[in-house]
Structures are given as structure tokens and as C-alpha cells.
């Protein structure tokens, strides 16, 4: 009985010492998870998640402060990737928060007054122009974030869906007529 007690005391002294030592000695700083999450996000910097850009959203997810279903441009696939990365369950988009068709912003140059407000709103510097000069969207850089729509005082910016053409056309997933699973 007494020996059992001594054994317990001895073991716990030793283990406690080891644990207390390593808790200080091997403390890990920083969070590599943020980088991993950021790599999954589509980098539209659109702020639709409620955070000012992709990186802040990634940080919020890593801290557990934000849900994984707040990024419409990433699509459901993005949520799946995040779910897998974080080891949590997939969570569908909320009502009306789903992704829209891919589009680029387009400035109606007849109406544009060259106020530069959209330039300041664009998170990726995809609008070219200077004060009092008409602006143009560099479509190849435009992420379709729509952040330029609101600031425009003359509402000359619209989103133009990217149409399918021979260049961006994709092969369809082959339809297998045989598997007729009734939609449940």
C-alpha cells in the first residue's frame, strides 16, 4: 500500500517535472494554419465574407471566429476544401449567399466621369485611369469582387458575365444515362 503510494508520487514527480519543463521550453509561436487557409481562398479580396480581404478571413477561420461557408467566390468546392483542411463538417452556403456566375466589371465609358473612386475601391488595382480621365477595367486582372460597384457616383460600372467561348470552353462531365438515381 505504502509502496504503491511511493510509486505514484515518484512517477508523478518525474512526469510533472518533464511536462513543466517542456511547456516552457518547446512553446510554439505563430500559426502556419493561416497560410494554408489563405492558399485555399480564391483571393478575390471581395470582402463578401465580412472581412477586409482573404487573409483576414483566413486568420478569422484559423482562430475559429468565422464559419467556413462565408466565401461565395470559392464556391462549394472551396468549402469542401476548407472542411477537409480543418477537419470539420461541410457547411452549405446560407440562403442567398451562394456563388454567382463568374463576371468581370465593365465601365460604361460614356458615363464615366473619372472620379477615381472605383480606383480606390479596387483591391487588386485592376482599374486603370487617373483623375478626370475615363477609367477602364483591366479584365484579366479583375477578380469580379464587385467592390467598385457601390462607390461609383454615376453607376457606370456593371458586371458582365464571362461568356463561354472556344477559349474557355470546357468538356462536360460525361452523362451516364444508366444511373438514374431519383433525386431524393
Amino acid at each position: 500500500m505504502i509502496s504503491a503510494l511511493w510509486v505514484m508520487v515518484g512517477i508523478s514527480l518525474l512526469l510533472g517535472a518533464v511536462l513543466g519543463y517542456s511547456a516552457i521550453k518547446f512553446k510554439v509561436e505563430g500559426n502556419p494554419l493561416v497560410e494554408k487557409i489563405d492558399a485555399v481562398l480564391p483571393q478575390t479580396q471581395c470582402g463578401q465574407c465580412g472581412f477586409p480581404g482573404c487573409k483576414p478571413y483566413a486568420e478569422a477561420i484559423a482562430k475559429g471566429e468565422a464559419d467556413i461557408n462565408k466565401c461565395p467566390p470559392g464556391g462549394e468546392e472551396g468549402i469542401h476544401k476548407l472542411a477537409e483542411l480543418l477537419g470539420v463538417e461541410f457547411k452549405p452556403f446560407g440562403e442567398g449567399a451562394g456563388p454567382r456566375a463568374k463576371a468581370v466589371a465593365f465601365i460604361d465609358e460614356q458615363t464615366c466621369i473619372g472620379c477615381t473612386l472605383c480606383l480606390q475601391a479596387c483591391p487588386v488595382d485592376a482599374i486603370a485611369g487617373a483623375a478626370k480621365q475615363m477609367h477602364t477595367i483591366i479584365a484579366s486582372e479583375c477578380t469580379g469582387c464587385e467592390l467598385c460597384l457601390a462607390p461609383c457616383p454615376v453607376d457606370c460600372i456593371s458586371m458582365q458575365p464571362i461568356e463561354e467561348n472556344i477559349g474557355n470552353w470546357k468538356w462536360q462531365y460525361p452523362a451516364i444515362p444508366i444511373v438514374q438515381v431519383n433525386p431524393r
Binding site: S12, G16, G20, E89, R184
Partner: protein, 232 residues
């Protein structure tokens, strides 16, 4: 803590986050002792008891345990409680103790116990923690019972065989012979039967869930917020 929250805890343990068929934790004893209802339920109840006690006793001291030795202390407490239960069973339910054998001490290493302590008891007050532990244990017991019943009926054609081991000699006549003169479908009793049975149970739960979801989708219902799922 209001009534709704207690309800949620129960719902979580028994259905939504059922350790046996949702979290898939503590499968080793689950598969090993579920060959009959009595075995399954007995071990399940023993586990539930340990879980309720460990969660309930760890919750009040959670703020005094330094983070560095959190896990060792939790494990220590769980181990003590399991050993106490083991002594008690050894003393007062010897037959069952022999049948369950190694799986009683193995409750210590059953990850569902530590999982609940870590995920719930270390963040909540004593009463809800104890309830959570017990609910999770009951969830496990339910799975063990159902799986045991499936395997026993299919494998032996009986129900509650060995109940006298748990409840004493007076229960000897309580064994139900569901199918008289049954040849026995041995694979149900043997380990493969446990895996197949558990698979069917998980499938069945998913199916029920899917159906409920479809119903809910056809007429939107308020969603019930639930504490996060324990992982691990």
C-alpha cells in the same frame, strides 16, 4: 443552463453526436463485447457511469488543473474511476466481471471518455458535464444494446442470454428464445458480424437523418444550435 440546453445535451449524446455511430469513438470495446445484449448493455452502462463520474468530477476542478498536466490528471482521474468500477463489479457482479474481462479496465483508454472530458467537461460546469458524460455513455449503451440484440438474435436466436450474470440467479428464466431450435448464424457472433452490424447501424442512422433532413427542407424548421462536435 436552461432546460433547452439540457435537452440539447441529451439529444447530442443519444443521437446527433452519438459516440458509437457518429463519432465512431471507442469502437474496440464496442465491437468486442456486443455479441449479446446483456454484455453490450452492461459494458455500456459501466462506461456511462465512468463518463458521468469523470466528467462530473473534472468539471469542478477544471480551473485548478494547470494546462501542462491537464491530460495526465484527466487520465489519472478516469483511471481511478474505472478501477473503482472494476472493483465494484468484481465484488458484486462477478459473473459479468468475468465475461467482460479485459474490457472493463480498457474503459480507461476508451477515447470517448477523454474526448468528452476534453471537449465538454473542461469548459462547462459540473452538472451539465456530468449529464453530457452520462448522455454520451447512454448513447454508446444504446448502440451496444441494439448491436448486441442484432447479433444475438441473428447469431443465437435468443435475447438477454446471460442476464443472470448481471441481475443474479432470479433472472435465469428471463432469457427469450426468439427463434426456437435455431441453428445459429455464427458470423453474427464472431467479430466480422460486429463490423457488418455496426456498418448497418451507421447506414441506418444516416438514412433516418437524410429523411428527416428532406422533411425539414420541404418545410423549413428552426435549426437547433448544438455544442461543437468532439473530434478524436
Amino acid at each position: 443552463m436552461n432546460l433547452q440546453e439540457y435537452k440539447d445535451i441529451l439529444h447530442n449524446g443519444l443521437w446527433k453526436q452519438n459516440p458509437g455511430i457518429v463519432q465512431l469513438l471507442g469502437l474496440c470495446p464496442l465491437l468486442a463485447v456486443s455479441s449479446t445484449v446483456v454484455n453490450g448493455v452492461s459494458l455500456g452502462l459501466a462506461t456511462a457511469l465512468v463518463m458521468a463520474l469523470s466528467s462530473g468530477s473534472i468539471a469542478p476542478i477544471r480551473n485548478y488543473v494547470p494546462n501542462e498536466i491537464r491530460i495526465p490528471v484527466f487520465i489519472l482521474i478516469i483511471a481511478v474511476l474505472v478501477t473503482v468500477v472494476q472493483y465494484l463489479m468484481n465484488a458484486y457482479m462477478y459473473g459479468l466481471y468475468v465475461v467482460l474481462g479485459i474490457f472493463i479496465p480498457l474503459i480507461v483508454t476508451n477515447c470517448i471518455v477523454l474526448a468528452r472530458v476534453e471537449a465538454f467537461a473542461s469548459k462547462n460546469a459540473a452538472l451539465p458535464s456530468a449529464l453530457d458524460g452520462f448522455a454520451m455513455g447512454l448513447g454508446l449503451t444504446a448502440v451496444l444494446g441494439v448491436l448486441g440484440a442484432m447479433r444475438e438474435v441473428l447469431g443465437k436466436g435468443t435475447l438477454f442470454s446471460g442476464i443472470d450474470l448481471a441481475l443474479g440467479d432470479m433472472a435465469q428464466g428471463w432469457v427469450l428464445h426468439i427463434i426456437p431450435d435455431y441453428k445459429g448464424f455464427l458470423i453474427a457472433i464472431l467479430p466480422p458480424g460486429a463490423f457488418i452490424g455496426l456498418g448497418l447501424l451507421i447506414a441506418g442512422r444516416n438514412w433516418l437523418n437524410l429523411r428527416a433532413e428532406q422533411k425539414a427542407r420541404s418545410k423549413p424548421a428552426p435549426s437547433i444550435a448544438a455544442p461543437e462536435a468532439a473530434q478524436g
